[in-house]
Amino acid sequence: MPIRSIEQVLTEIKTFEGLEQRHLDRIAGCGTNCGFAAGEVIAREGDPADTFYVIRHGRVALETSAPVGGSLLITTLGDGTVVGWSWLIPPYRWRFDARAVEETRAIAFDGACLRGKCDSDHELGYVLMQRFAQIILDRLQATRLQLLDVYGEPARR
């Protein structure tokens, strides 16, 4: 398998599609490759959100603590998706638990590093905010559809 740079990987990720090369370069400069074993906790709700991840290969579960019965699985994320947006929005704390469901290869991005670049380059900050707002919107819509329980028992006729 050819070794590809983080910049090259980013061009294939939907969230970063169409970004200018100079922006990709700046984002990639904050990234390092990483891996997680099946079951490994990647982030815990409430912890400082210093990092976000792009899944290269694998599956990650987003969970939240339930009042009864431990954690509630909200969704699983697969190849090419972004895990974590709390690094961009104060107070920079994880809003969910993230756990690798299977062996997962990812790119970890240093959120503080990228926030610093966004502060000094507002165009990069605007572009990233737009892209991450889309992620937040998509997850919100998906959660709304889950809440609707569309496959639940219909009213009896």
């Binding site: 939907k14 599956r59 579960a61 699985l73 909200i74 969704t75 699983t76 697969g78 190849d79 090419g80 998706t81 469901v101 299977e102 998509d138 819509q141 998906a142 559809l145 889950q146 609707l148 329980d149 569309v150 496959y151 639940g152 028992e153 219909p154 009896r156 006729r157």
Partner: protein, 271 residues
Amino acid sequence: MTPRPWRVIDRRRETADSWTLELEPADGGPPISYLPGQFNMIYAFGIGEVPISISGDPGGGGPLVHTVRDVGAVSAAICRARPGDQLGVRGPYGSAWPVADVGGRHLLIVAGGVGLAPLRPALRDALARRDELARLTLLVGGRTPADLLFRDELEELHADRRLEVAVTVDSALGGWRGHVGVVTTLIADLDFDPATTTALMCGPEVMMRFAAEALIGSGMSVADLHVSMERNMKCAITHCGRCQFGPTFVCREGAVMRYADIEAIFNLREI
């Protein structure tokens, strides 16, 4: 309008509230031929009649197959039918999935919940025509793993190299190793060319609306989207108006409809 008597020859539980029935003519008459997506009016004698999509293989011969969810008095009676019992059958009625018209294209099938049943004939037809298609994808969403229809068949399809299959559930407890999330998340994860894709969708209307939005958002033309509508029916032959959906009758123009033809009224709560 007179239903023919058909005998139940097999009954399989699919989920807690859904059953698949296999039927054969009880009157010595011929079996019926049908197109994928068509439905029959199934009559539980003395109780009532409801439209149920055919879930069998249109090219497979064999018995007539219906998968029924128990949602009311009539469907409950149909679900209770045991081998040897008789049900009335009128049909087939309605339009068909355009599987035969999409040669050379990527056929994307999106099913939610019991909506997989009306799409199963389209899937079997597509597999029979696999050489005519550029690509075949099946996306399935369910409430929980226990609510997925045709689980054994889905397992087999996962191993079938002629198509790609992705299954997701809205919620799952321990033991489920698959995807969790709504069916639209499978669309977001799918790498496909929207210009050469035709989508067939069936499930709750709100699910189809979100799925259509996701597909159009991915660049698909509304003209390439097809949905199967569900409405209560009485006559199924355009006389009673019970199944009226805006300016259309679902029994005549549907149940399979071009999304472009109904998009304007699809989101109207009053319809």
